[in-house]
Subunit: 146 residues, 2 copies
DNA sequence: GGCATATAGTTAGTTAAACAACTAATCAAA
DNA sequence: TTTGATTAGTTGTTTAACTAACTATATGCC
């Protein structure tokens, strides 16, 4: 017997991810208002570099769930913005290690504050235990499909 | 006191929507395998036309949470694929009413079955009450931000 | 050492999203 | 009835995702 939890009429929101889209749009607006000249996608790359600087493009692919061409172009654009620098690895010359510039390091605190603010607005009125359940479900969904 | 439910380290998945992205990618793969020559975005437009044919582009904007240029281009591409037809409204000549072609009507059953299949795979092992909580949370998030 | 294979990254082409600026049709109010 | 504002849709530009095809380096096996 199939795990038939969804009727036709309920499919749409889950597949199109309207909630996460709304969160990303709200955060993008906050970035624009704050004159942080960053797309959400660029921010998502910086997010992982703030956690660990000097990782390879492949590691950025894994961390951000993007494919290699996407990371190539994001790093291209971040380099144009002088926010990261490609450095060829000495151990393995196929690899580029990606390093933050001083300017990019300065953006961490402000952008993370805006991200937290956005999430708090998104989850206004949602009890903590329901948030916890949702996080678990989204993680299982991801694990089921990856 | 702020609704401070998120620590820094937990921001990423919620904002980037990795679960809904994974669902959309899985469904896209199923479409490709089934030789359904459709993007998920095109499917999301057809989805609403299957529910109600002959609605305007503005109504499609509201239904799919997209802006007008996005719908213009999606309808352009669906028209090229001969899946929809623009018909200028007689009551208000500013409006285009969008109608499914016979070919598009044929795609409903198969594509909806693949969508349900995808969701069942995504939610494998998730108890129904947790799914219910997640749906509620995602709806609240959307309402908070829209 | 030399060859096949795998891995890291780039390039090209199509589709799509966000934003701004635009045209055309409608409506409302003086 | 003409002017001004609103609404529906289009076009141009930039950024990004996905696929496929590509280059270059590294590895493993004989």
């Amino acid at each position: 017997m199939p795990n038939n939890q969804f009727k036709k009429g309920e499919l749409y929101s889950f597949i199109t991810g309207k909630a996460s889209t709304a969160i990303a749009r709200r955060l993008q607006k906050k970035f624009n208002t704050a004159q942080l000249n960053l797309t959400i996608e660029q921010w998502s790359v910086l997010y992982h570099l703030w956690k660990q600087d000097g990782i390879s493009q492949q590691e950025l692919c894994n961390a951000t769930f993007r494919d290699k061409p996407s990371i190539t172009r994001l790093v291209d654009n971040l380099e144009k913005l002088k926010l990261v620098k490609r450095v060829s690895s000495k151990e393995d010359r196929r690899m580029n290690l990606i390093f933050l510039t001083a300017e990019a390091r300065k953006m961490e605190v402000e952008s993370m504050a805006l991200a937290e603010e956005t999430l708090n607005e998104a989850l206004e009125g949602v009890p903590a235990d329901m948030v916890e359940v949702s996080k678990q479900v989204l993680q299982i969904v991801y694990d089921n499909l990856k």
